[in-house]
Symmetry: C2
Subunit: 152 residues, 2 copies
């Protein structure tokens, strides 16, 4: 996860993105939620700069869901819910960003989406994908290929 230096500078100003970073640093936890394409407007709206202490889930209409011992909330309707443990942050002065590195504590996903080889069929679950800050898409599968060898 990459955050802008901006977010750190806003820690004292009470903006939501900074709140996100502060929450991670304080609780050492965060969640990743893969949602369906139909909810792209709600997902986008979570990027608004709500005041510190305001739940963006509540504001945009996402139901919160909890999976103890993870303290951070998940999006109830999400297809894939990943509980992350904060491990370290690496400052990248060159472009004023911070790389947040976490480890996976727990994954909640319908078993029908997981193949025998561990492949997760995100495309079949109509998962939302994005480009840049404002463009949203769904993906359509072309195919999977075997491990590439020089002889082929």
């Amino acid at each position: 996860m990459i955050l802008k230096k901006d977010d750190i500078e806003q820690l004292e100003q009470g903006f939501r993105r900074a709140d996100t970073l502060q929450n991670i640093l304080e609780t050492k936890e965060y969640t990743l939620n893969y949602i369906r394409s139909g909810q792209y407007q709600k997902a986008h709206q979570t990027s608004a700069r709500y005041d510190k202490g305001i739940s963006e889930f509540e504001q945009v209409g996402f139901e919160e869901w909890y999976h103890p011992p993870c303290y951070a909330p998940f999006v109830q309707d999400s297809v894939v819910k990943i509980a992350m443990k904060y491990e370290e942050s690496i400052s990248i002065p060159l472009n004023g960003t911070i790389l947040i590195i976490g480890s996976i504590m727990h994954v909640d996903i319908d078993a029908s989406l997981v193949g025998n080889d561990g492949y997760v069929a995100l495309s079949e679950a109509d998962i939302l994908i994005s480009q840049g800050l404002d463009a949203y898409f769904v993906s359509k599968a072309i195919g999977r290929l075997p491990y590439a060898k020089p002889s082929i």
Copy 2:
């Protein structure tokens, strides 16, 4: 760009992925090429571990294309060609990877794909996207949304 520690350890063994890293460190340049979905098999095949000194472009059937002063080759048929200058690498011991950070020197793209606001319509150009190491997709646009504000 993230490379595995593996790639560094293989520098002395002459495998192709290590060759890629070595090329970047030696020439301080690399290219990013966005190709159309129809070429996903060729793209996948470039991941094979060809011997050091063998051109994977030639092996898989990609035509090379050059744009001086960039020394590194581009894929001729690619829709977007980005010439990158190597800036720094950050070692991430936690997961044995190396984060390669570069700056953009030059972008070659058909002007018809670039909107007035700078948005690049990659989806309309049938650009290939991938998940993991072996699954390939195209994207279908849902929509773009305006800058999110708390009041909405």
